[in-house]
């Protein structure tokens, strides 16, 4: 016994209004609940709303946990994914080339404009982040846990890195090198997020278009 499109929309709206905000997690729950409700409707010969209400009462605490438990694990996984990206051959080559070229040719320039470079890196990150958020929230109107998890972790990572950079003596060789590394990591971060988003899109095209 298949439930109707209106019934599916009802389940989806119920989940949305109860805080299941991420599309990738909600899609699975909609299918899970729909399958369970269909099974019970056929077994007990009941209508959709009666069966759905019964299911919600019995299982609410299980499927309405906050979007994805075990945040500590998710944080570590996103960090691991980023480090795995960093040890990729192409990424290492690009990072090294950028570092060598800028360190050799623009060291004094970086030293002189250190604070401006840091400011530009922060502006680039803010613009990228706003663009990213506008893209998913405004254009697609869809949010994906798998992508936001990576994104949030990277923001925290940058916060910590930024703190380390601020604590170094200004104008020192270490401070200049950290500024350079900060700029390179900003480029790699944008590359990483762009790359993971693109790969996720390719693997889950139907989630975007649903």
């Amino acid at each position: 016994m298949s439930i109707t499109t209106a019934n599916i929309a009802h389940i989806e709206n119920y989940l949305k209004s109860n805080g299941v905000i991420f599309d990738d997690l909600r899609i699975e729950l909609v299918d899970h609940i729909s399958s369970a409700v269909e099974f019970e409707m056929a077994k007990q010969n009941l209508g959709f709303h009666q069966t759905f209400s019964k299911y919600v009462i019995e299982n609410k605490s299980e499927f309405l946990n906050p979007n994805e438990p075990n945040n500590k694990w998710n944080f570590m996984l996103a960090l691991k994914t980023f480090f795995k990206f960093l040890i990729n051959k192409n990424v290492i080559i690009v990072a090294l080339l950028l570092f060598i070229v800028f360190q050799r040719n623009y060291f004094e320039l970086i030293k002189e404009y250190s604070s401006s470079i840091q400011l530009y890196a922060v502006i680039a990150l803010i613009v990228f982040s706003l663009g990213w958020i506008a893209f998913f929230n405004g254009i697609f109107k869809k949010r994906f846990f798998a992508l936001e998890n990576n994104f949030n972790v990277m923001i925290i990572f940058f916060g910590i890195f930024n703190l380390a950079r601020v604590l170094t003596v200004p104008q020192s060789v270490l401070a200049v090198n950290l500024t350079l590394i900060y700029g390179i990591i900003t480029v790699l971060f944008i590359w990483f997020i762009g790359n993971t988003t693109y790969k996720y899109y390719n693997k889950n095209k139907q989630l975007y278009t649903a």
């Binding site: 298949s2 599916i8 909609v30 605490s61 994805e68 438990p69 889950n204 095209k205 139907q206």
Partner: protein
Amino acid sequence: MKNSQLYKGSLNTIIMKLLEEKGRMYGYEITQKVKEITKGDLHITEGALYPALHKLEAEGLLEVEVERVDNRLRKYYKLTEKGTTETVNRLAELEDFIKNMQSIVNPKLSY
């Protein structure tokens, strides 16, 4: 899912074993299959199943196929090459664990 660390610790291996046998499965199907095999004794909840599936996917052990079925999207999970190899290792580990537990809990049966 039964409130026991023994069951919780084996959830990933249970999922991988089922996928090894069936090829590909969706979430609800996995819960029903486990219920059927254990004659209703083991009930895997959504709160335990989906984070486990997502973790295995993120580790590269599972891959996903999304299809439209009965007016809704369904995510099918299947083992990757790495996942197939890992299933063999984890099952061997679990069998070893069961054998050792058997020797401790019920030594007569272990001979």
